[in-house]
Every structure is written in structure tokens, then in C-alpha cells.
């Protein structure tokens, strides 16, 4: 397929591929910025009001005793990840941590959807308008975005 694109057998895709190749740096910047927005927004919301997050964790016996500690740990990691994404020197690390973090959140959502019969509400929580299924799709999208960002960053580093 790559040869077909380069040889011009699929002119539409050729244009897109060339656009992506010429704007890799900008695309990586935009992806990193989206993750900064996501993590900073959720971390700030949780910092202002922890109760919804702790309430959701407490409904699961596996996390009930450490609900507060887990909440603080997640918020701290989100702030650190936002900083890693902000600094050019650590952007790649930030994208990797973003992918891992989103994967962990997605695994948690899948676990809750499969094993918890009555899903708790995240009343007042961040992005609370989303259902658990919508959250799952949202997370998978961002995982794919982070992987795309990591791949593009690697190509930028290789071409320098």
C-alpha cells in the first residue's frame, strides 16, 4: 500500500500522506496539546472536588480501602504527564505515559462493565455526561491518538 501511495496510484491518499509527512511536527504538537488539555482538565477538576472520584472507587471492594490514595496518585500522575507533554525534551515520554495511562483507565472501565452488575454513577464527576460505554470509546480513541503521536515523533527524531 505504501508503494501504491508513493507511486501515485491512489492520488487522494498520496496528498494526505504528503500533508502528514510535511506537518508531522505540528500534528505531534496538536496531539500533545490535546492530552495536556485532557489530563490538566480532569486533574484540576478532581483537585477541586475529590468526592465523586472517591465515591466511584469505594463502590468496588478491590479499591474501597485505598480510594483516597488511588485518587491522589492518579491526579499526581496526570499533572506529571501534562508537564512531560509540555516540555519538548520529554514530549515522547509524555506520549508514552499518556498511552499507558489511557490503557489503564480503559482496562478499569472494561473491568467495571464486565464484573460490576450495577455500575456506580460518577455523579458530579468530570465528563459525567458520558455513559460508561461512551467513555470506553472516548478512551480507545485517545489511546490510538497517543500511539499515532509516538510513531510520528519517532519518525521526526529519525529524520533529524
Amino acid at each position: 500500500m505504501k508503494n501504491a501511495i508513493v507511486s501515485g496510484n491512489r492520488p487522494g491518499m498520496n496528498v494526505i500522506a504528503r500533508m502528514v509527512a510535511n506537518n508531522r511536527k505540528a500534528i505531534v504538537e496538536v496531539i500533545a496539546a490535546l492530552f495536556i488539555l485532557l489530563f490538566l482538565y480532569t486533574a484540576l477538576n478532581k483537585t477541586i472536588d475529590f468526592r465523586p472520584t472517591i465515591n466511584v472507587l469505594k463502590t468496588n471492594p478491590a479499591f474501597a480501602n485505598l480510594a483516597a490514595e488511588i485518587s491522589w496518585t492518579i491526579v499526581t500522575i496526570e499533572y506529571i504527564t501534562a508537564v512531560l507533554l509540555f516540555l519538548p525534551q520529554t514530549k515522547r515520554s509524555g506520549l508514552i505515559v499518556s498511552a499507558l495511562l489511557m490503557s489503564a483507565f480503559t482496562a478499569y472501565i472494561i473491568y467495571m462493565m464486565v464484573f460490576v452488575p450495577n455500575l456506580p454513577c460518577s455523579c458530579g464527576g468530570v465528563i459525567s455526561e458520558l455513559t460508561w460505554s461512551q467513555h470506553l470509546i472516548f478512551n480507545v480513541f485517545f489511546i490510538l491518538l497517543s500511539l499515532a503521536g509516538i510513531r510520528m515523533h519517532r519518525k521526526i527524531s529519525a529524520s533529524v
Binding site: A33, I36, L37, Y41, L44, N55, N118, P120
Partner: protein
């Protein structure tokens, strides 16, 4: 400065969004066992951990009320005049009672 443009923009949007959209709420867990308890302020526990809740049911799970409603007396005032249906709307999830 150009390389920080998108990142700084994201930080600015995040802080502005939180400043303008986040409002503190109090969470009162419904502990009643019948539908008639929905309007009874004594059947609610402040910051109670929800359990047994889902998207279906005939009673509220945890109601979100303004931040200043943090005592039973204030909850009584807040719920006064509200129907069970209006109180149900304050709860994102529901539970089933008799």
C-alpha cells in the same frame, strides 16, 4: 515560543474551562426503602457512598444539590415543594425500591 504555542493554548483552555464550568455540589445518598421516602430529607446521608445503583430504578441514587446545602435542615428547605420526579432528576443514576 512557537514550539510552545499549542501546549500553552491547551493549558489556557483547561484552566479556563475548569474556572467557568466546575461548580461544587453536595452529594446526598438516598437511603429510603420506598418511593414515599424520596421527598423525606431524613432519608438522605451526606457524602454517603452509593451502592446498588444503575441506570434503571424508581428511586434516586445520589442527588447533587448546591454546595451550600450541607446540613439536614438545609436539605429539608431545598427539598420542600419538590416532587419525587423533580428529586429523581437530581440523580444521574437510580436504584430500585418498593
Amino acid at each position: 515560543m512557537k514550539k510552545y504555542f499549542f501546549s500553552v493554548l491547551a493549558v489556557g483552555i483547561a484552566i479556563s474551562s475548569v474556572a467557568f464550568t466546575t461548580k461544587l455540589n453536595q452529594q446526598w445518598r438516598f437511603d429510603g426503602t420506598t418511593e414515599s421516602h424520596i421527598t423525606d430529607y431524613t432519608k438522605y446521608t451526606l457524602n454517603g457512598t452509593p451502592s446498588g445503583c444503575s441506570s434503571l430504578g424508581n428511586a434516586p441514587c445520589v442527588i447533587s444539590v448546591p454546595d451550600e446545602v450541607n446540613t439536614p435542615a438545609q436539605l429539608q428547605n431545598f427539598l420542600a415543594g419538590k416532587s419525587a420526579a423533580e428529586i429523581m432528576d437530581l440523580s444521574a443514576q437510580k436504584r430500585s425500591v418498593e
